[in-house]
Symmetry: C2
Subunit: 917 residues, 2 copies
């Protein structure tokens, strides 16, 4: 038997069903389901779907169809004719059809549609007779000619006109001309004579431009339409859309041929779209709009204001219009009944399209409805209660970015739509923020004290700006990438931030920001940032805020927790960050950076002492400075350990190159020099000797610990003494000492000896028999991953520092990628910024290799991630897949991570279930 | 049967043989060979070797011996007694023995020796009677007591005295005191009574200090000596020596117990050392020295000047002394005969020790003799002619560092020995050089013009210094590592260079160089550098030069060529470098750096145009600047391609970050700004925008080619047009276009399109049908190695850039490792600077993985290396092993590489032969 290429649906029957999306496309599968499933059997105009396999065949065989297709189409068409009791091409009572694309995944506007197929000089006569509505018929004919000329004929002629130069525009010009002659504004004001004249002019124009006659044969039109849909799969727009969305070329599209029904046949006709629940807030209410006497495209086009289908759907814009439930109560009742059956059947909110033709309701489409974040959470939790959804369903119903919407205020989308984008940078910290421009950290602090909201605009930020960054509503920088200083700090605080905005130029002297090819903004002017998109606007745009303390939100995350296996930790450097992260559900700290206490609030004293240590000339001076520094370091560590009582805390020893801490300001340099009793010149010399060409790969991390063992010892003492004191208070403290930038097991052994020495000293001092702690390493240098089997002999845990691993894996300095990354993304050389989402193909190999090698030596090796990727859902899925124990991210990303981890667990379970079949 | 732990030798028989070095140690194996091999049967004093397995057992069993050892030693000792017709410990005619260490690999001075074992109060009497030489006997006794106390008793007591505070010093003090009392200078002037008194005083001192009696029992002495040798295997000195030399701990040492023979029994006794050929120049002449009436240690100690064994061995220092061939002609004849038999047997030059006791010749040691570079080459080639050696032997007889000696002038070793080292840095460019200090590149050029020899001393060098570096005899820098700018440039020219000398401080203002804890040297003062060691000296030391054009040298390399399979290319950027490398045997260019034309001589014009290109504001400006630049780029490329006629030339497209070329000098900046018609301020802004935090991982390599496609096109055009022109002249030109810093196949595809476009244009312009060229990539970013299978789909060749691969693999910035690398090497965290020799364990994995993945997709993928490692013998061996097609190194390293490649091929063959057995 020949392969089945054509699937019929209609009149309570269907060859296909919802599960056959790959073969029938989304639209076709749902039409079959609605028409044929025994629980539904909805009034779907009959039709048939030509499968995606025909598309594949078509491209594999020089744009030819399988030989059996013609017969199968004819057979399906005959079934439709029998149901409709009309014949396609019949001069007396012609059947009209639509021809629509329908891929596996919706590609809105990317492929072609032809409506009213089957209208010819002959069938027009029959249709007029049958409908008694000549105007309607010629209007439909005009639409067919326009679409067909544009979609089928121009493409087939191989013409690729410039934007706005195509045949459609030329036909529209004719229409405009007639309207002008007739002095009318709307198409609907044109009469039958006008339309007839227009149709004739259209056909002449087509002949003139495309050198072909508009086909006056129904079958020719049908096959023209089918061919146009298949051809559009490899149209320019579709190809670039697929590239962006990652849709494989071989998927192909299906073609849906369906009986035309008309919402534009008079006042007892209408067309509409609706959602089975409110997609804006998730309430369990039928929500939608419709237009009387209109076709589907009219609702979308926005020429007339659509009316609400019920009271619930009323708004300020449409409350003067008649509601469907009152205008056509019977039809509305039927529709509401369909709504309930669809939800019960699909167990999720549906987005539906319907048409009422002469008082008869038809369903034209149904699909899972899009929704915003708050709505997604509410619907999921409601459906769990309504037993429409299981726990597993709930977890996959909300995307991480939807959840993120609940965590930050956002610019009111309606206002933003109409606002002019001043410039675009990298979206480094999510949410929206408005404020007055300031150009220095000091100004940010000062203005804030005066109660003003400010946006800190900088060329790029450095650790000395941190106070100002905290004071600002948001940060905007001209340079730097997604993991630049500004981006890291802002994300850590959940603060709105845009970085690497190459189109702005900061003139610090004039306190002015110049925008490329645009205006200059001065200090004090208002701007509004969208940190989720990376765009910003002049003036103060209104904000919407999604409640942070939201019961549904927390309940939803508890459902996620019940599903996930990956632990979620946080990156936190202060007791208050730790407390906040705990509130968000963090189960420990994956990264405490000892150096961060030198950046933050109240950092003056410890920073000064750190600087003394750094510019010490010899071990004695250094040890003295370290003694002074010790109490500060210990205080922060102890506070954080206490805040995480009961959970593990990974403390990374001093990581950055020392030069980063040398003061730049003359005043501070003089203070430092005088306190050390050395000349400013000597200080400068010492600072100069610390300067490096490529500090990222310089004297930092464990390399500092090897050359200055006393620095390691001081930190380890602070950790273990804090732990000892808290243990004595009865707390459960689980410190994990982590060595950064390791590339070699010998480094680890060298540091382990120091740790053991201090450990023995602390035990003695506190009279303890033991303190539980783990000793481990960051894996952030490629060589560490390559020699992970050696490292695991000494390290009890690995924590992947994927920021640096990505830097070194790619050879990309994250501070400098601004020069080429935009080009790389635009040209499709990189699908995504690898500092945002783990590069599974390359860096991922190192990660997987490291875990395998490590566990080959130490089976119970604890493995986590503490780079920025720990808060990225795709990366979290990868971390789950390769068998990590936990991910760690900034406090504000903890909820996202809980969700992503749950989704990863379900996906993995699904895969395993599939495999075991 | 019990395991054999003791191997006898003597009287024409031996249990062991030369091949048993692992078991018997080098010394023991050769003693057995000399004594027992049927072709030799030399007069070796009988004795026995306790195997290295006993050493292993000893350490595995808490310093106990295998139970059977005692019996086996007694049995062997009995054999010796039978031959010597004396008994150990016999009061009438005692046998005396020496106890010496002997590891697999010679560890000179690292382990212990005890001579004259068996002398006790009782045996002294018998020996005096037997020899009639009371003075000799007590002198021997004194030596035994000293050695035994030092080597056995002090160590056993667990005392670790400070340097110069041990028992040996205390005993020597007694000797000095007696000499003073007796008013004599030399030990030999002391009489029997003095010696008796000294022996008594020694024993008393030992009792006092070590709380134990000196053992008066022969067997006790013997076992004490054996134990001391085994214990010394894990002495501090031995451990640190093993670490440096990479000798595994488990090898262990053997112990050789051998009948004492005495060269100090009167004027018909003597002792000497000799080489079967001259180790200084390789001539086939017997060469050695001896001392009458002396023990072996006296020759080494240098108290008396040894005499030459024959006329050939005479020198200015010893020509007044009697030569052995005249003093004892019969003995000399015997020795000369032994020399010939040894060479015939061992087929290599031997280093021998002999003793003449009362007119009887004994052989105490033979081993492969050390030799310098010129000697090694001459001996190898001579022996090939003499059929003593095969081609394969010849190749392994010369080490790469010996060959290197022939390539550079060196400081006269005799003078250098006595010169005071001023400071030490990293040995970046080999050989020696003397000159007057200058501190700027300009001064170097100026002084040189005046005919002066100068050493350029800089904090660190940058591309603007290149002219001065070329003018200087040598370069000395305070900062930078083995692959810093100075090191790379100097090595490329084969120029003497020391970098990263942290002990010097350059005061450019005062034109003075301060040496830590030492003097200051001013401009114009003479210094002499040893770039092979990294040391430098005050004043002008004399130089020796090994001829560069040396027939033997070339013949030797031809032998190497006949053995190797790896091709040797060179890194060259100019026609003259290319010509030089061809003369050295290069078979192509593995790395031509397009940017290097902007550094070298006559770079002013092209550099200026490059700078114009760099600071261009837009594509139009840039294209104009590129057009101006084109002729310069093409000229160098064409000249180099022509110089390599018949060989492939790999041309790497522009690699460094553009900022590197921005002028620093105000004057040049002004010139540039005015030529562009922009303000100095604008220029500075543009330059600032190019500055990067970590330029090594910034906007460079292919990233430039992606963002500025016109830059790639210009270079490709220069390559292909040059090739086309030369092809038309009938030359065989094989360009290989190489894309640097690739991390992603999409980058490569992007550049390939540009290449193809230009290719088509050039074909059309020259009316050619095709031009043979290859398109390939550097593998220098870890991700490139990880995704090599993807890259190989597009790249026709891979060239490993191991400098950058090491930088990113380790996360070591080579410009900044000065801060920690010395510590890493000292603390044994790294066995060797990974920029000098490929880190096989880590970076090597990436290399191997890349080759395997690459060839899995493209079986005939051409693979080479163009990093600095291409000239390092150990790295070359690795490159051979992993299946590379070629290595590429600086012209002066080409001969070394030819040798190393040959040795690698032999080693590999040997391994395969072994495996197939």
């Amino acid at each position: 038997m020949a392969k089945k290429y054509v699937y019929f649906f209609g009149a309570g029957k269907a060859d296909g069903k919802a599960e056959m999306k790959n073969l029938l496309g989304g639209k076709g599968a749902n039409l079959a389901e609605m028409a044929g499933h025994k629980d539904l059997r909805l009034p779907v105009p009959p039709g048939f779907t030509i499968t995606t396999e025909v598309c594949t065949y078509y491209y594999a065989n020089k744009r030819k169809y399988p030989p059996v297709l013609d017969a199968q189409v004819n057979l399906a068409l005959k079934k439709v004719e029998q149901i409709m009791k009309k014949k396609f091409g019949d001069p007396n009572d012609p059947l009209l059809v639509s021809v629509r694309s329908g891929a596996r995944k919706s590609m809105p506007g990317m492929m072609e549609t032809v409506l009213n197929v089957g209208l010819t000089e002959k069938t027009i006569v029959g249709l007029v007779k049958k409908t008694g509505n000549e105007r309607f018929v010629y209007d439909s004919y005009r639409r067919l000619i326009t679409m067909y000329a544009d979609v089928v004929m121009e493409k087939a002629a191989g013409i690729e006109p410039e934007e706005g130069q195509g045949i459609r525009k030329q036909l529209e010009a004719i229409l405009d001309k007639v309207k002008k002659e007739r002095n009318v504004k709307s198409d609907s004001d044109l009469g039958v004579a006008d339309l007839k004249k227009i149709c004739a002019a259209y056909k002449a124009k087509i002949k003139e431009v495309l050198k072909k006659e508009f086909p006056d044969d129904a079958k020719a039109q049908l096959w023209g339409g089918i061919g146009a849909v298949f051809a559009s799969w490899n149209g320019k727009r579709a190809i670039s859309y697929r590239r962006i969305e990652g849709i494989p070329e071989e998927w192909g599209t299906a073609v849906n041929v369906q009986t035309m029904v008309f919402g534009n046949m008079g006042d007892n006709s209408a067309t509409g779209v609706a959602f089975t629940r409110n997609p804006g807030n998730g309430e369990n209410q039928f929500y939608g709009e419709y237009l009387v006497n209109a076709q589907g495209e009219d609702v979308v086009a926005g020429i007339r204001t659509p009316a609400p289908i019920n009271k619930y759907s009323q708004s300020d814009h449409n409350k003067h219009l008649a509601i469907l439930s009152e205008l056509m109560p019977d039809i509305y009742k039927k529709l509401d009944n369909i709504r309930k059956r669809l939800e019960l059947h699909y167990k999720d909110m549906q987005d539906i399209e319907f048409t009422i033709e002469n008082g008869v309701l038809y369903m034209l489409q149904c699909r899972i409805g899009k929704r915003n974040g708050p709505a997604a959470v509410r619907m999921a939790m409601d459906m769990l209660k309504e037993k429409l959804a299981t726990k597993e369903d709930v977890v996959v119903r909300v995307t991480p970015s939807q959840l993120d919407e609940l965590l930050h205020p956002i610019i009111d989308p309606k206002t933003e739509k109409t606002a002019k984008v001043l410039a675009k940078g990298l979206p480094a910290g999510p949410g929206g923020a408005a404020g007055q421009i300031v150009f220095t950290a000091n100004d940010a602090v000062e203005w804030r004290k005066q109660g003003k909201k400010v946006i800190l605009v900088r060329e790029e930020t450095n650790p000395e700006d941190v106070e100002g960054m905290r004071a600002a509503e948001a940060i905007l920088t001209a340079r730097g990438g997604m993991t630049s200083h500004a981006a890291l700090v802002a994300r850590g605080w959940g603060k709105c931030c845009i970085v690497g905005c190459g189109d702005i130029e900061v003139d610090l002297h004039q306190k002015t920001m110049h925008i490329k090819g645009g205006a200059a903004l001065k200090e004090g002017e208002w701007i509004t940032l969208n940190g989720t998109k990376g765009t910003f606007y002049q003036g103060q745009l209104p904000m919407l805020s999604a409640a942070e303390e939201n019961k549904l939100f927390n309940d939803f995350l508890k459902v996620c927790d019940s599903v996930r296996t990956l632990k979620i930790r946080t990156n936190a450097d202060t007791p208050s960050d730790a407390a906040k992260a705990r509130a968000f559900g963090a189960e420990g700290i994956g990264l405490f950076r000892t150096e961060h206490m030198f950046y933050g609030k109240n950092s003056e004293e410890p920073l000064f002492r750190l600087r003394k240590m750094i510019v010490s000339k010899n071990v004695e001076e250094r040890k003295k400075a370290l003694e002074e520094l010790f109490p500060y370091v210990k205080k922060d560590i102890k506070g954080t350990l206490e805040a995480m009582d009961g959970f593990p805390v990974t403390i990374r020893l001093l990581d950055p190159p020392l030069h980063e801490f040398v003061p730049h300001a003359k005043e501070q340099q003089e203070h430092l020099a005088s306190s050390l009793g050395i000349s400013l010149e000597d200080l400068e010399k010492r600072a100069l000797s610390l300067r490096e060409s490529n500090p990222m790969m310089g004297h930092r991390g464990v390399r500092l610990g090897v050359t200055y063992p006393e620095v390691t010892e001081m930190q380890v003492r602070a950790i273990l003494e804090s732990t000892a004191e808290l243990l004595k208070e009865g707390k459960k403290i689980l410190p994990e000492i982590m060595i950064p930038v390791v590339c070699n097991v010998a480094e680890l052994k060298n540091q382990e000896e120091l740790v053991k020495k201090v450990y023995a000293e602390v035990l003695a001092k506190f009279g303890l028999k033991k303190i539980d702690y783990l000793f481990g390493t960051m894996i952030e240098v490629p060589r560490a991953a390559l020699t992970a089997d050696e490292l695991a002999g000494t390290a009890e845990f690995f924590s992947y520092g994927t920021n640096d691993l990505t830097q070194m894996g790619f050879g990309f300095s994250r501070d400098d990628i601004g020069g080429f990354l935009p080009d790389y993304l635009n040209k499709g050389i990189l699908p995504v910024d690898p500092f945002q989402s783990i590069d599974v193909r390359g860096v991922g190999q190192l990660i997987e290799m490291g875990i395998q090698k490590g566990r080959s030596v130490r089976a119970n090796l604890k493995v986590g991630i503490c780079g920025e990727h720990g808060g990225d859902p795709a990366s979290i899925e990868f971390c789950h897949k390769v068998g990590m124990n936990y991910v760690s991210c900034s406090p504000y990303r903890v909820p996202i991570a809980r969700l992503a981890a749950a989704q990863a667990a379900l996906k993995d379970k699904g895969k395993k279930a599939k495999k075991s079949k």
